[in-house]
Symmetry: C2
Subunit: 175 residues, 2 copies
Amino acid sequence: MRVLTPATSSDARSPRAGDIDHQMMQHAIMLAHQAAERDEVPVGAVVYRGDQIISEGFNLRECDSDPTAHAEVIAVRAAAKRLGEWRLTDCTLAVTLEPCPMCAGALVNARLGRLVYGASDPKAGAVRTLYTLCNDSRLNHSVEVVGGVCAYECGRLLKDFFKQKRAQRQAARRK
Amino acid sequence: MRVLTPATSSDARSPRAGDIDHQMMQHAIMLAHQAAERDEVPVGAVVYRGDQIISEGFNLRECDSDPTAHAEVIAVRAAAKRLGEWRLTDCTLAVTLEPCPMCAGALVNARLGRLVYGASDPKAGAVRTLYTLCNDSRLNHSVEVVGGVCAYECGRLLKDFFKQKRAQRQAARRK
């Protein structure tokens, strides 16, 4: 008996992560650690073209008092500035967490070529979880998406951060 | 016979635009003209609290080579910077065009209190047209929305801009 299996990330027709994508995600994870060191939610992002890093970013919402200072927006703005061009059609962005509506919208507005993300975001994920903003045919651009790259490591980073935060709050209450 | 009429913008239960909102929209329209003078798509935005303007913005995507430089994002970032606080819970933003997914997401991320917008955007409107991002109970904040304020004037500004652009392109082709 032949058993039909659903398409998975190893489906040859699906976009897949290459070695460069994994290397860039490791770089994004390193950037997420830099956010955590500043007591920011640890999310990091890298924009690259081929094997060349164009720009980097990590979450700085609290430090900069800026609600738009998510890793992706910072990295996209820096890439556009560096290239002198707001269209990032031949670039890939790797980010440790599935982008929120603002960031997914920014990637569409930037005409980003590819998005590689790590952990899914059940609360605000706007690429596959709550919305599919990067692949809405009504909008004027669609981004190739590869999700779940180094997902465990990216998710662990966030879980550890929030666990530590809860412990700090409980310790403060006990005082 | 009693005739039930559907709720309209004059429904007392619906959020409504006050005099201040109309004044601020006129200010946003003036800012949109400043964008047009720089050959940018004419969209303007103002953040205010009571009758006090906190910040302003107009579209600068081309001038700044920045895909995130929409009027709303510029105004929100400037307001947060001025107030030293990324939460804009007690602020209203007036913008001449219905926000796109990026901007609607930014308003949710900024915990904006109220949004007042002018013309609807059939191509990318993410507040009422394609999405209702500002009022999605799955996200961690909901924004009070008043749409259609000075809508004709706001829409006219955009139509005139694109009409002029088309005429310029046709003239260039004839040369």
